[in-house]
Amino acid sequence: AQTVTQSQPEMSVQEAETVTLSCTYDTSENNYYLFWYKQPPSRQMILVIRQEAYKQQNATENRFSVNFQKAAKSFSLKISDSQLGDTAMYFCAFMPLPSGSARQLTFGSGTQLTVLP
């Protein structure tokens, strides 16, 4: 079984500053995917960024980047030049490399990020 831990229930950052959200996970799998999802008040989960465990290079998507440390089982999200629209709940999620029917996501408990004007 996999577990995902987000130890920061709430964080805040000033507009235009940089913030890092932390995530750790526990698994015996060697191949897997990691994701960060954003959930604004509309409730729709929006994919922010994903990382394949077999890739050593950290993923980046515009202002969003990750620091993936496989040995430490750590997957943090860095948001640069924070914008008011980044205010949302952020969830870290794990998915093992699909084998058979196993394709579900395991989510952490989330970090509420507030960007302050």
């Binding site: 729709q44 989960m45 699909p98």
Partner: protein, 118 residues
């Protein structure tokens, strides 16, 4: 459609009532998932379909929960004899076929149905 569509967005049910929640996935997505999200928590897996086949229902909390996807597109999550602990947001997600070289493995979520049992 352009995205995953769920209806209704809000549902209030009296304890003991049966409810049915609908999910219309992205056209062409063969994989469909249901998740339950309690207040202040991350979503938890309920069940997974590949086309019309329910391949994993290990997350369904009790036999009062039932999901179907008879034609491999629209799915319905049914909860019988609702209890207060069933109050949550129910999220549906779909994804394209697994293809390590080309396809997206990410799940695309709907806006969920907030169920309140009173």
């Amino acid at each position: 459609g352009a995205g995953v569509s769920q209806s209704p967005r809000y549902k209030v049910a009296k304890r003991g009532q049966d409810v049915a929640l609908r999910c219309d996935p992205i056209s062409g997505h063969v994989s469909l998932f249901w998740y339950q999200q309690a207040l202040g928590q991350g979503p938890e897996f309920l069940t997974y379909f590949q086309n019309e086949a329910q391949l994993d229902k290990s997350g369904l909390p009790s036999d009062r929960f039932f999901a179907e996807r008879p034609e491999g597109s629209v799915s319905t999550l049914k909860i019988q004899r609702t209890q207060q602990e069933d109050s949550a947001v129910y999220l549906c997600a779909s994804s394209s076929p697994w293809d390590r070289g080309l396809g997206s493995v990410a799940a695309f979520f709907g806006q969920g149905t907030r169920l309140t049992v009173v």
